[in-house]
């Protein structure tokens, strides 16, 4: 406003001088007397006019330059404001004395605003990066959870399923997770639905674990350990209050394998304890008879002591076998491989099992190759494998059946096989009989066993001797267990 008034004053002064000059000129013309006084007056008036005009013009020019500087200032970029000073931003500011102060004020203010803007921009960029990374991480987490082999799912405060990973969807047959899928509708297992609901209703951070049997999509039974935890959901709270809503997260783990091992362990312990109790029963019974003085003469006492001794030996054999298996499996047993005649070993094994065959009235046939079959083996181990196969054949062949022991040279391998006319194995059992502790359920009552004979034989043949042990069988007809071993020449070349 002061700038305007300055300009107006200068303009009014110029106009006044011009009027004065005009009045002087008119006076001179009217009087016709152009004296010195008149001329001086006219000149002074004209000079004053020119001065006033010049001043007005100067002010105007300054004003234009100031506007120009303001415009420069206004168009300055953030970088210029950050790095330049006032002189650089407005080069003419110093020359515009009257405008210098307002320009400086403006410049400082703009610099402050520019700093704020820059900080805001930086934090916006940071936020955007963070949001992007969070989004990526969220996607990754979702992908990871989705690809987990354990079923995972989550319900909200209304018991609606809001997340279920791939395996969970497959397990519960959820084709598409719609907006509002009630857990009770989607999950067939009432136990799980109840567990989810009960956990959620506790409304405190808590965890519950349960074991549950479920059918998978192929209708096979699986045992699952299910862990359900409460999860606070602040975002879903429609009331906008701080108090969180509670949903539940369920994680299932397939423990069928663990259960099977547990069951087989129990069966193994049961089988071993049965095998141990039988000789122990003899020992205890005869000891009691002796202690009670039931055997009244020396000869009877000797007879009883012999039984005790033989049963103690039997118990020791059993324990030795168990320890041997454990040792061989742990790899701490010394393997003593030497070139041997396979037929000699088989003949010895044949002699050992012969009495058992006679007891069951089973025809035991030895069909050994007339050739010398040289193998590089640990005698005791291969004998053990052969006896295991033979005694298995005798165990699972009904009375009056037939068991054949064969050997032959085939290509560069030595083959021996034990063929029986026993109960045979189903294709599934053929795959599993070499598993430790596995016993064919339907044949368990035929004979006692630990489910260790075949795994031990396989371990001896394949891992210790680089051979192969397999079985072909037909249920109800019989089985043939076949062992292939490298000949002594081949074995020595390899070694």
């Amino acid at each position: 406003m002061s700038k305007k008034s300055h300009i107006a004053t200068e303009l009014i002064a110029a106009i006044a001088c011009a009027l004065l000059f005009a009045a002087a000129t008119v006076t001179c013309l009217v009087t016709g007397d152009l004296g010195i006084g008149g001329m001086v007056a006219c000149g002074a008036a004209a000079l004053a006019t020119i001065c006033c005009f010049a001043l007005w013009r100067t002010a105007q020019v300054n004003e234009d330059r100031a506007i120009c500087q303001f415009q420069l200032l206004a168009s300055a970029s953030l970088e210029q404001l950050e790095h330049d000073d006032l002189q650089a931003a407005c080069p003419q500011a110093r020359e515009l004395r009257k405008w210098k102060s307002p320009l400086e004020q403006c410049y400082r203010r703009m610099k402050l605003l520019a700093d704020d803007a820059r900080q805001l921009q930086q934090s916006r960029v940071r936020s955007e990066v963070k949001a992007h990374l969070t989004g990526l991480r969220h996607e990754q987490m979702r992908e990871i959870v989705d690809k987990l082999s354990e079923p995972v799912m989550m319900t909200n405060q209304y018991d609606e399923i809001i997340f279920a990973n791939e395996v969970a969807r497959e397990l519960f047959g959820i084709l598409d997770l719609a907006e509002k899928t009630m857990a009770a509708d989607a999950i067939a297992s009432e136990g799980i639905v109840q567990l989810l609901q009960e956990t959620r209703l506790r409304k405190t951070p808590t965890q519950r674990v349960s074991e549950i049997e479920l059918l998978d999509s192929a209708d096979d039974k699986h045992w699952y350990r299910i862990t359900v935890s409460t999860i606070a959901q602040h975002l879903d709270n429609e009331m906008g209050a701080d108090e969180p809503n509670y949903g539940a997260v369920a994680v299932l783990r397939d423990i069928s394998g663990y259960k099977a091992i547990q069951r087989r362990n129990a069966e193994f312990v049961s089988a071993v304890s049965h095998e141990m109790k039988t000789p122990l029963a003899g020992i205890k019974a005869y000891v009691e008879l002796l202690a009670d003085g039931e055997a009244e003469d020396e000869q009877t006492r000797d007879e009883f002591l012999q039984v005790i001794n033989s049963q103690a030996d039997r118990l020791q054999r059993l324990i030795d076998n168990l320890l041997n298996l454990a040792r061989i499996e742990a790899g701490v047993v010394n393997v003593n491989k030497k070139p041997r005649s396979l037929n000699e070993l088989l003949e010895e094994a044949f002699r050992i099992v012969h009495p058992t065959a006679e007891q069951k009235n089973i025809t035991l046939i030895s069909d050994l190759s007339p050739m010398y079959l040289g193998v590089l083996v640990d005698r005791d181990m291969i004998m053990q494998a052969a006896i295991n196969l033979l005694s298995n054949a005798l165990k699972y062949t009904p009375d009056n059946g037939k068991v054949t022991l064969r050997s032959r040279l085939q290509d560069r391998e030595v083959v021996f096989e034990v063929e029986d006319t026993g109960v045979g194995l189903s294709p599934e059992d053929c795959d599993r009989v070499f598993e430790k502790f596995y016993r064919v359920k339907k044949d368990q009552k035929m004979a006692s066993g630990t489910g260790l004979g075949l795994p031990l034989a396989k371990h001896i043949v394949e891992d210790v001797h680089g051979g192969e042990l397999n079985v072909t069988s037909e249920s109800g007809v019989g089985s043939t267990f076949r062992i292939r071993l490298p000949t002594v020449q081949v074995a020595e070349t390899v070694n």
């Binding site: 129990a266 069966e267 049961s270 304890s273 049965h274 109790k277 039988t278 122990l280 029963a281 003899g282 020992i283 205890k284 019974a285 005869y286 009691e288 008879l289 009670d292 039931e294 055997a295 009244e296 003469d297 000869q299 009877t300 007879e303 039984v307 033989s310 049963q311 009375d399 009552k445 035929m446 004979a447 006692s448």
Partner: protein
């Protein structure tokens, strides 16, 4: 049964001692003893014969069932695990046949905690289950109790001992 071997043949001296048997109210009763382990048969037979019982021994469930058909014993003592026909199968046969339904049975078994509910022992009305290893003295007490009262109070088969 003439085909059944006499396991005391292995103990000639023991047989002579059997003449000096103790007597009890149930002495003279016929007992059929079934076990595939000969030494168990021998011990049980020896003790029971000395207690005055008449004993027949067989080695598996099938032989036992044949022996029962031939001559009904007063008591059956059977093992659980046996070839051909096991103890459970034998008990079922006995309980299913009208003629043998009332035969008291004592089971002598090395099975312990693994005796499961699906063995369905209750329906077989087994008078007593004795766990192996067993005491011959305890067996005689059990036999006497079962023959006089039809049952025998025994401690349950323990889970851990």
């Amino acid at each position: 049964m003439n085909t059944s071997p006499n396991y005391l043949d292995a103990f000639p001296q023991a047989v002579t001692e059997l003449n000096q048997t103790t007597t009890s109210s149930t002495a003279g009763k016929r007992i059929l003893l079934v076990d595939d382990e000969m030494h168990i048969l021998r011990a049980a037979e020896f003790k029971l014969k000395r207690s005055g019982y008449e004993i027949e021994c067989v080695e598996d469930g099938q032989q036992a069932w044949e022996a029962i058909q031939e001559q009904m014993p007063d008591l059956l003592i059977t093992d659980f695990h046996m070839p051909r026909l096991d103890g459970l199968g034998l008990c079922r046969l006995v309980r299913e046949d009208e003629a043998t339904r009332q035969l008291p049975i004592i089971m002598l078994t090395a099975k312990g905690f693994e005796m499961t509910s699906d063995d369905n022992l209750e329906s077989l009305e087994i008078a007593a289950i004795l766990a192996k290893p067993f005491s011959p003295r305890g067996l005689v007490n059990c036999v006497e109790a079962v023959l006089t009262t039809g049952s025998f109070e025994q401690p349950p088969i323990s889970y851990l001992r």
